[in-house]
């Protein structure tokens, strides 16, 4: 504690400074929030004094102010205004990040324009910040990005506790999941119970429910755009946590004025507890996942910024008989360059790999099974904000996909190899945003996509019975089939008042690759396979219309959106399809049409002690495929008629905050047997159709409490405790319905398997 004398001295000193130093120096760099490009000649207006300054070529601005509180309003053409409250009590650096009005990449919630819900042209976009995600009670205390988005309107979890999600009735493989713009093919750890994203290294995420930005394509249903931290730290700092499942640590810091770095990691340690097990068989088991994120960025000048980002995550389950592992790797290198104050660019290289391997290590039965998908992507994106009428975005991208569907090797035996194949996927796009009046804005554009199958490959032809009729072998590098897609997308926003608007939207999306997955939750063994001469690309037309209204000075956001989605060439699989290690996989594919429609209602409260949202979704999703269900229309596996999510956070005091989540959804469609036959005392099912029934409705309450022991502590180290209860009222939600024969009568009866009772957890989080 400081002596009273010293306080007095400081007080005097402060007083004297305010009397005699008169002005305080404020400076900083104005940058594009997404790319980091410095913005030259941006304006900073000081509301209280009415003065303004402009930034120089390196984006730097500076001003002198009398001691006091001020509001800085930074503006730049093609960007949204940014308001920052500062307390000018000492010289300080105030960096300003501006957000392009075409590339609306929201990073920090406080930086977002307050009326964005109403004014932004895009619709069907949901965003969550890392802070919001952290507040949501989590399964086993493991903060999870994907579990968080499953609470958003129009998003359904594909299975209890799983990482698969369905957006507006689409299948989980119709979601494009990007981490710093690199594709993530399997976003799940531990068979899906946790996601691959470590919340500590993220700034936030955006989910586009169908109306993808023209920059992106290749999936029908959604884009989940996950971004790692972009803000430049002023000093070395870190965050971390110790939980029941895993521990985390993220460190970041600057190197000089122009370079910053970040590294974060997580590892689970369930296997360490297994070592304490009485069961000898479990003691030797390895069971863990880990992931590492790293990022390095360097600003060469005001005009150039280079950034490298790497993700590596792996799951391993091993025991004496063998092991099973799978891993995701993604890396990117990007260069942002400002040609002029009207032309910005970004060039980037992305690599992504997903692979899995199973190994049997038993004597006389040693075998290994491996599969992978590997992508290399190059892209160039330009943004040219010329005027209210011409705010152009354009660019090109190209991806080389390499698919290795599966190889089984066994010493001394021929093994089994499903031949690999290659494809190129190109995209070129042009978009424009127009502000026609204060009320009406438009955006429109076209994306042209091209998909080319490339040798080396062995391609089978199939007859009407899906039996192989012929086969053709193509040389390495030979392009043997090309599809093109025109993908127009357009939208408007019409502001009815300052607080309300109507938005409309149309998008056409094309998807050239899909997951061979037939089960409800999917497994890490599912493989991706491309469109080909036998498999046409899947296409979707999406129409949506919405009314957006903010209340009480934007502190409440409300919206109603309705959508209709028509699907063509939608993929499902034949009955009893063999999807793994099958070189004639294409013969198992059945295609048809689908449609999905629904209405989404959302109320969100952003300010005050109580924050959170309530949403309700009414929807339907169905498929019609000639060879499935005797050609009759059936419900998509993710169809849930009603869905309600309530997320509430309440700041009880500076030390204590409470959070709660309640979810309710109509049970998933499923098939129950209508009849049975008997052979040798065993009963076997007879089905009358696909997905005619539903599982019982799903509902669950989660609670959490966060306790900060010393919220006012000036120490660098700040800790907090998080206590949570998953499934607080112990609802037995069926994960799986199975049939078994009664021990006495021998007759069949139904049983359900539920995964979770009440699950308490405790986590300690810290930052320094």
């Amino acid at each position: 504690m400081l002596s009273k004398k010293l306080y007095f001295l400081l007080f005097l000193l402060g007083f004297s400074i305010s009397l005699y130093a008169q002005t305080i120096h404020i400076e900083g760099i104005i940058q594009d929030k997404q790319s980091g490009e410095a913005l030259a000649e941006a304006t900073v207006y000081i509301k209280e004094t009415g003065n303004a300054v402009t930034s120089d070529q390196s984006g730097k601005y500076s001003c002198r102010l009398k001691k006091g509180s001020y509001t800085l309003i930074a503006s730049y053409i093609g960007y949204k205004n940014e308001e920052i409250r500062i307390k000018a009590d000492r010289d300080q650096t105030v960096p300003i990040l501006l957000e392009s009005s075409t590339e609306l990449q929201e990073v920090i919630v406080s930086a977002k324009a307050k009326d964005e819900n109403v004014s932004r042209i895009s619709m069907g976009v949901e965003r969550l910040t890392a802070t919001e995600i952290k507040r949501i009670p989590a399964l086993m205390g493991e903060v999870d990005v994907i579990k968080a988005i499953q609470l958003l309107p129009g998003v359904q979890s594909a299975s209890e506790g799983g990482s698969g999600f369905s957006v507006r009735g689409g299948s989980p493989d119709q979601n494009l999941i990007l981490l710093d713009n690199s594709t993530v093919y399997n976003a799940a750890h531990l068979m899906g119970f946790f996601s691959v994203f470590n919340n500590d290294v993220l700034s936030g995420l955006e989910l586009y429910k169908g109306d993808l930005p023209l920059k992106f394509g290749g999936r029908l249903s959604s884009l989940l755009d996950v971004q790692t931290k972009t803000d430049q730290p002023e000093r070395f700092q870190g965050t971390g946590g110790i939980g029941l499942i895993s521990s985390r640590l993220m460190l970041e810091g600057p190197i000089g004025e122009k370079t910053s770095w970040m590294i974060g990691g997580r590892r689970s340690y369930a296997d360490l507890f297994l070592k304490l097990s009485n069961d000898e068989s479990q003691r030797d088991a390895a069971l863990y996942f880990y992931d590492v994120n790293a990022k390095l960025s360097h600003r060469f000048s005001g005009k150039d910024k280079v950034e490298g980002s790497v993700y590596l995550g792996r799951d391993l389950f091993g025991a004496q008989p063998g092991e099973f592992k799978y891993s995701n790797a993604a890396g990117s290198l990007s260069w942002g360059h400002t040609f002029s104050d009207r032309l910005f660019s970004k060039f980037s290289l992305h690599l992504t790999n997903y692979d899995y391997g199973l190994k049997s290590k038993l004597e006389d039965a040693e075998a290994a099974w491996d599969a992978s998908i590997f992508d290399v992507m190059l892209r160039a994106d330009f943004n040219q904000p010329l005027s209210d009428l011409w705010n152009l975005g354009y660019g090109v991208s190209t991806i080389h996909h390499h698919f290795q569907p599966g190889v089984v090797t066994m010493p001394d035996y021929p093994g089994l190899k499903v031949e690999g194949n290659n494809a190129l996927e190109h995209g070129i796009y042009l978009s424009n945003e127009q502000k026609l009046s204060d009320r009406l804005s438009l955006k429109y554009g076209l994306r042209v996509s091209v998909f080319q199958n490339m040798g080396k490959a062995l391609v089978y032809s199939y007859d009407n019975e899906y039996e192989v009729s012929d086969s053709t072998r193509y040389k390495s590098g030979e392009i043997y089939h090309t599809y093109t897609g025109l993908e127009p997308r357009l939208g408007f926003v019409y502001k009815l008042t300052d607080y309300s608007s109507v938005k409309g939207n149309y998008a056409h999306n094309t998807q050239y690759m899909q997951l061979a997955n037939n089960s409800a939750s999917g497994s890490p063994l599912d493989i991706w396979f491309p469109a080909s001469p036998n498999i046409k690309p899947q296409r979707a037309d999406l129409f949506s219309l919405g009314y957006f209204h903010n209340l009480k000075e934007n502190s409440y956001e409300t919206s109603v959106e309705v959508y209709y989605k028509g699907l063509k060439n939608v993929v499902d699989f034949a009955e009893h399809a063999e999807l793994m290690l099958n070189d004639k996989l294409e013969g198992e594919v059945r295609t048809g049409t689908g449609k999905a429609y629904g209405a989404e209602f959302m109320v969100k409260k952003n300010t005050g002690r109580l924050t959170g949202f309530v949403n309700y979704t009414l929807s339907r999703s169905e498929r019609t495929i000639p060879e499935i269900n005797q050609g009759k229309t059936y419900l998509a596996p993710y169809d849930k008629t009603h869905s309600v999510n309530i997320v509430a956070n309440y700041q009880l005091s500076e030390k204590v905050s409470l959070s709660t989540v309640w979810v309710y959804a109509t049970g998933n469609p499923t098939s129950y047997p209508s009849g049975r036959f008997e052979i040798g005392g065993e009963y076997f099912p007879i089905y009358s159709g696909r997905n005619e029934f539903r599982k019982p409705d799903y509902h669950r309450l989660d609670l959490s409490l966060t306790y900060i022991p010393n919220p006012k502590s000036k120490k660098r180290w700040q800790g907090e405790w998080n206590f949570s209860l998953y499934n607080a009222y112990w609802q037995k939600n069926p994960w799986m319905i199975t049939f078994d024969q009664d021990d006495v009568s021998g007759l069949p009866h139904a049983e359900m398997i539920y995964l979770f009772g009440i699950i308490p957890s405790i986590t300690y989080n810290f930052k320094f």
Binding site: L190, S281, L416, G675
Partner: protein
């Protein structure tokens, strides 16, 4: 076989990962119209060959499935033989050849059944066809003790020449002359995708638990499905080559009998059949191959 070899890995994983809880649940389903269920297997074993006819029932019916009586059941062969099967007096719905006979490899057998199944006064005809599968040559089997995850097992290693064709096998095990794989859910299924055309030089095709481990497993759901052996036990293995369609029928039965699996397997689907006109079940023929061995003393402990 291609995935089977990884089964110990899968099961270990699932065991470690999933300790889900089970509860009974009442579900409502439709009651479908009954269909005829025909199940008949012909083998080279010299005996009265039989076919069983029953009626399907609503899934949750509390009655046992009824036999179908009064049918005219006939089997003809590509050797122009004709066998009439008569309904057994002791077991309704089971139709037997009047004399003992053994079916012959390579011969096509056709089943023809005439019965007024739906009671509309019109005779319904159901048919099925099978080609009797030949014997295969097995050199020997060897039983070898080993420890897996701290437990004593015996591996069954096979020595045989695989033919260059796609082959499908159903294996049955007798321990001291008692059939352990006595129902469809316990049949052991093997394909030859990974070893096709090669000499199979001691590949493990089955693991038996040592009987001294039995106590540990008593409370497991599938206890009755486990096969336990002790040193000195006499093991007989039946490795029968079957038609692909029959192999798939058994695989379907095994996969579908418990309903959907959220991780593996697809949406619930009807079991494939070779019975015509909306009937279900199967009619097939195969040659029985047997080979024997003794369980050695376990010296791994």
């Amino acid at each position: 076989m291609k995935r089977k070899i990884f089964q110990p890995v899968f099961y270990t994983l699932i065991y470690i990962l999933l300790t889900g809880c089970t509860a009974d649940i009442d579900i409502k389903t439709n009651d479908s119209e009954p269909v005829i269920v025909i199940y008949g297997l012909l083998t080279n074993e010299y005996k009265k060959q039989s076919v069983r006819l029953t009626r399907s029932s609503p899934y949750f019916s509390q009655e046992k499935n009824e036999a179908v009586s009064g049918a005219v059941v006939r089997i003809t062969s590509s050797l122009n033989e004709e066998f009439n099967l008569m309904e057994s007096q002791s077991e309704k719905g089971t139709y037997e050849t009047t004399d003992s006979l053994s079916a012959k490899a390579g011969i096509t057998y056709r089943l023809n059944i005439q019965v007024d199944f739906d009671g509309d006064g019109i005779v319904d005809t159901y048919e099925a066809e099978t080609v009797m599968q030949p014997a295969i040559s097995l050199d020997s089997i060897r039983i070898k003790p080993l420890r897996i995850m701290g437990e004593s097992y015996y591996a069954l290693n096979l020595y045989a020449t695989d033919s260059p064709d796609e082959d499908y096998y159903i294996c049955n095990y007798f321990v001291n002359d008692t059939l352990k794989t006595d129902r469809i859910s316990r049949y052991r299924m093997l394909g030859d995708e990974i070893v096709n055309g090669e000499y199979i030089n001691g590949l493990t095709i089955e693991y038996f638990l040592d009987r001294k481990e039995a106590k540990k497993h008593e409370n497991e759901d599938n206890f009755d499905d486990l096969i336990f052996v002790s040193p000195g036990d006499h093991i007989t293995i039946e490795m029968n080559k079957v038609e692909k369609s029959y192999y798939l029928f058994i695989i379907d039965c095994q996969m579908e009998m418990k309903g959907e699996n959220p991780f593996f397997g697809g949406p619930a689907s009807n079991i494939r059949t070779n019975i015509s006109k909306g009937g279900t079940g199967f009619f097939s023929a195969y040659t029985i191959n047997r080979i024997e061995a003794s369980v050695p003393a376990d010296e791994t402990n």
